[in-house]
């Protein structure tokens, strides 16, 4: 590999969305040789077939231990790899573990060339977690929405209210009891289930 050529990067991640986000980020940054591995069956032989310079793996992946084997000298290991940082650089380890990603360099690549790759992975992983949180919040908001609609229906039927009045009743009850409107709606559904 020449000094100027783009290192070959393998992304080992079972989350296809996160892997795609990572790949896109790496390509934007000018890394042209990026390969995703989403299938953990015979991971080692797939890595050998690709022969990457850098391996990036998510920390929720049990297959991370398989990569540890590549530090060893044995028949099963063709090209030894090293951990991603110097002994002195604990800040990098901390940041990457916090973000949930780890990177390995395969024998031959200079450590300086890994640092920007790792930094990029960390920021993309963090961005993905934020996205995931947002998605979870949206999902639970949608769930709430459904529950509220059903509770409104029950109130309209039992108390002869229109939709607007049913909603106002839910909201004012929630405010008085210092609870979320979704919680009040859920208790109405539970109660109506019990009283059926």
């Amino acid at each position: 590999m020449g000094a100027e050529s783009s290192p070959k990067i393998a992304i080992v991640d079972e989350s296809p969305i996160r892997a795609a986000i990572l790949e896109e980020g790496l390509r934007e940054a000018g890394y042209t040789e990026v390969v995703r591995i989403g299938e953990m069956q015979s991971l080692l032989s797939r890595i050998y077939a690709l022969d990457p310079d850098v391996i990036v793996i998510d920390l929720e992946n049990p297959s991370r231990d398989i990569l540890e084997q590549m530090f060893q000298v044995s028949r099963a290991v063709r090209r030894p790899i090293a951990m991603f940082v110097d002994q002195s650089d604990t800040a990098s380890i901390q940041a990457s573990v916090d973000a949930g990603v780890s990177a390995y360099i395969v024998d031959g690549l200079k450590k300086e060339r890994l640092k920007p790759i790792l930094d990029l992975c960390i920021s993309r992983f963090n961005a993905f977690s934020r996205l995931q949180d947002e998605l979870d919040r949206t999902k639970s908001a949608l769930e709430d929405r459904k529950v509220i609609d059903r509770a409104k229906g029950i109130l309209m039927k039992l108390k002869g209210l229109n939709e607007e009045e049913a909603y106002v009743l839910l909201r004012s009850t929630a405010m008085r009891e210092k609870k979320k409107i979704g919680e009040i709606a859920q208790s109405i559904l539970t109660a109506s289930e019990l009283l059926k």
């Binding site: 953990m40 991370r64 530090f71 780890s102």
Partner: protein, 389 residues
């Protein structure tokens, strides 16, 4: 004020003393508020312990030593004031490999010398026939699983680096991999051998205790720097774990312990299977054959919880034998100092006093282990990767 601690573990039955200590409130009674964090890989446990995200962890004993020596990773000194378990592994092979070994065996199939010699004949026949080398799974490069597999086959004349392939596989993948034919056998801890047997894809050939009668398996691992700053908390942790280890070994508590461990946030497998493991009654083949051994997994008996530096020296000798570490007196001293019976004794006083002066490793092959002469000991084994000095 309560001390809040984060402790990492891998869902395995030998995390029992830690899990029970927290679940039964033994840690709370010692003034600690412990959050248990279930992890998916030993690399994660090691890294999170090393950088301080975990205050303590359920860790492979050889990883604690490797981390203190800086082998394979950054050097972070670790201490083990408590041994979470002895033994608990087994070697499981595919039905095809079992049949091949049985057809070649000359002697008792429960004798590891006989099976290892039979394996060497199977390996030779495969070579003559141009078949692919046999592949065995184990859980981590620095693990008793790796060393026990190597010790066993080498005793029969099989070179684990030249004659077969050894690959790291996460325990949950073992049964699938043997069923799919990617591997021919594996060495792993409980419950994973039983799971492969229950699925009808493998047969237990040996208990780990057939290979070595007494092997430190998992330890309660703590960073040396943190340990030095928090002696009271370390002592409290040791007392809580000790109480749990004794609780686990009481026959009347076994069912309750099995039910606790079976919960999805802990080990997450069938309680009946866990109960069998704790009692040392393992189904070894799909036809229902059961083998019993009181030595299969030892948690709170036979001085198991008290860390024994001779065990650390033994593990260091395995690292040297297989080329992971270079033999040196400093390396040996570092390895021994990872296991801290002094911290154990300080926490428990006379309650934890050992019942006998020394417990031998009891390996099935080779001379008795002499921790003062590791080079001489290793010289008696024809197969090894010792680096020349």
């Amino acid at each position: 004020m309560k001390e809040t601690l984060q402790i990492g573990f891998i869902p395995l039955i030998d995390a029992a003393a830690l899990l029970v200590a927290v679940d039964k409130g033994f840690t709370a009674a010692e003034g600690m508020d412990v959050t248990l964090v279930r992890e998916v890989s030993w690399s994660n446990v090691r890294d999170k312990l090393n950088i301080g995200l975990f205050d303590a962890a359920h860790l492979l004993a050889p990883v604690a030593i490797a981390s203190s020596l800086g082998l394979g990773h950054i050097k972070v000194p670790i201490v083990a004031p408590f041994n979470l378990g002895l033994n608990g592994n087994a070697i499981t092979v595919s039905s095809a490999l079992h049949a091949a070994i049985v057809s070649e065996i000359d002697g008792d199939p429960f004798d590891p010398t006989a099976t290892a010699k039979a394996l060497s004949r199977v390996v030779a026949t495969r070579r003559t026939n141009g078949a692919e080398p046999l592949t065995f799974g184990m859980t981590f490069p620095f693990s008793t699983h790796n060393y026990q597999l190597r010790f066993w086959m080498a005793a029969g004349g099989v070179d684990p680096d030249e004659d077969v392939r050894l690959v790291v596989l996460p325990p949950p993948f073992m049964a699938d991999s043997i069923a799919g034919g990617q591997i021919d056998g594996f060495c792993v801890g409980a419950p994973w051998n039983s799971i492969a047997v229950d699925r009808g894809v493998g047969r237990v050939l040996h208990f780990g205790s057939d290979i070595w009668q007494r092997a430190a398996e998992k330890v309660l691992a703590i960073r040396q720097s943190w340990c030095a700053k928090n002696p009271q908390i370390v002592a409290a942790l040791v007392r809580a774990a000790h109480r749990a280890a004794e609780f686990i070994e009481q026959p009347q508590n076994r069912f309750e312990v099995a039910r606790v461990l079976a919960r999805p946030e802990y080990v997450g497998v069938d309680a009946e299977l866990i109960l069998r493991t704790l009692e040392g009654r393992l189904k070894i083949s799909a036809d229902g054959t059961v083998r019993e051994s009181a030595r299969y997994l030892v948690v709170g008996r036979q001085d198991a919880p008290r860390p024994d530096p001779v065990q650390a020296a033994w593990l260091y000798a395995q690292m040297v034998r297989w080329g992971q570490a270079e033999m040196s007196s400093e390396g040996l001293a570092t390895a021994r100092s990872v296991f801290r019976p002094d911290l154990y004794d300080r926490a428990l006083g006379s309650e934890g006093r050992p019942t006998r002066a020394a417990h031998p490793v009891g390996a099935f092959a080779g001379p008795a282990f002499d921790p003062e002469d590791i080079a001489g000991h290793l010289a008696s084994f024809p197969i090894g990767r010792q680096k020349p000095r």
